[in-house]
C-alpha cells in the first residue's frame, strides 16, 4: 500500500514568489493534516481536514497561506507571497479518522532566498 505522497520534495524560491505543495493521502483516509516543521523543532499543526472540511485551521496564517482539499482526497497548501521565515519542512499526514494513527509523508523542504 502506498504511503502519503508529497511533492515536490524540495523547493527553492525567491521571497515574494508564490509556492504550492501537493499531498496525496493514503487511499481511504478521511483525515488529512498539514504540519510545519522548523529546523530543530517538532512539527506544528497548520490545518486539519475531515473529508473536504477544514475543521481546525486556527494555526494557519491566513494572510498568506491557503489550503484546499478538493473531493476529500488530494490537498494543496499554498503560500503567497513567500517570506524568508517560511523556510521549513512542510509535512502532510493522513489517518482513517481523527482517532486513528496518523501516517506522515516525507515532507517538502522549502527554502526561500
Amino acid at each position: 500500500e502506498a504511503g502519503v505522497v508529497q511533492s515536490p520534495r524540495y523547493k527553492i524560491i525567491e521571497k515574494k514568489q508564490p509556492v504550492a505543495f501537493w499531498c496525496n493521502p493514503i487511499s481511504g483516509h478521511n483525515t488529512l493534516y498539514w504540519y510545519l516543521q522548523n529546523l530543530g523543532q517538532g512539527p506544528e499543526l497548520l490545518i486539519r481536514y475531515e473529508n473536504e472540511e477544514a475543521v481546525d485551521d486556527s494555526q494557519l496564517p491566513k494572510d498568506r497561506f491557503s489550503a484546499e482539499r478538493l473531493k476529500g482526497v488530494d490537498s494543496t497548501l499554498k503560500i503567497q507571497p513567500a517570506e524568508l521565515g517560511d523556510s521549513a519542512v512542510y509535512l502532510c499526514a493522513s489517518s482513517l479518522t481523527g482517532r486513528t494513527e496518523a501516517f506522515f509523508g516525507q515532507g517538502t523542504r522549502l527554502t526561500v532566498v
Binding site: G40, Q41, G42, P43, E44, A93, R99, E101, F104, Q106
Partner: protein, 116 residues
C-alpha cells in the same frame, strides 16, 4: 494548553548500549501520548502510543515506553541500540481523541547518535 518537554537535545550512545529518552508532558486531563521517529529526509513514523491501560507499552523496533502519571513522564527505552536507530525522536501528546478535538502537540525532539 498542553505541552511537551524533551530535555535532551542530543544524546550519544554506543551501539549495544541501553537507551532512555526523556519526555515530560503538561496536560490537565488524561493524556494520549506518542513517540515518533524521524530518520534524515524522512517523514515521521509512529513507534508506540499510550491511550489507557497498561502503563508499559511496547512498540516497533524493540522500543518501549512507560507512562508515569505521578511524574508526568513518558520515557522511551530500548535495551540495546543498533546503528540504524540513529534518528530524531519526538514525543507528542494529543489533547483529546474525540472527533474534532484530536491534535498532536510535539516536543522539540531528541537527536540520537550511535557510535561504534
Amino acid at each position: 494548553a498542553q505541552s511537551v518537554t524533551q530535555p535532551d537535545i542530543h544524546i550519544t550512545v554506543s551501539e549495544g548500549a541501553s537507551l532512555e529518552l526523556r519526555c515530560n508532558y503538561s496536560y490537565g486531563a488524561t493524556p494520549y501520548l506518542f513517540w515518533y521517529v524521524q530518520s534524515p529526509g524522512q517523514g515521521l513514523q509512529l513507534l508506540l502510543k499510550y491511550f489507557s491501560g497498561d502503563t508499559l507499552v511496547q512498540g516497533i523496533k524493540g522500543f518501549e515506553a512507560e507512562f508515569k502519571r505521578s511524574q508526568s513522564s513518558f520515557n522511551l527505552r530500548k535495551p540495546s541500540v543498533h546503528w540504524s536507530d540513529a534518528a530524531e525522536y519526538f514525543c507528542a501528546v494529543a489533547s483529546g481523541w474525540d472527533f474534532g478535538n484530536e491534535k498532536l502537540t510535539f516536543g522539540t525532539g531528541t537527536r540520537l547518535t550511535i557510535i561504534p
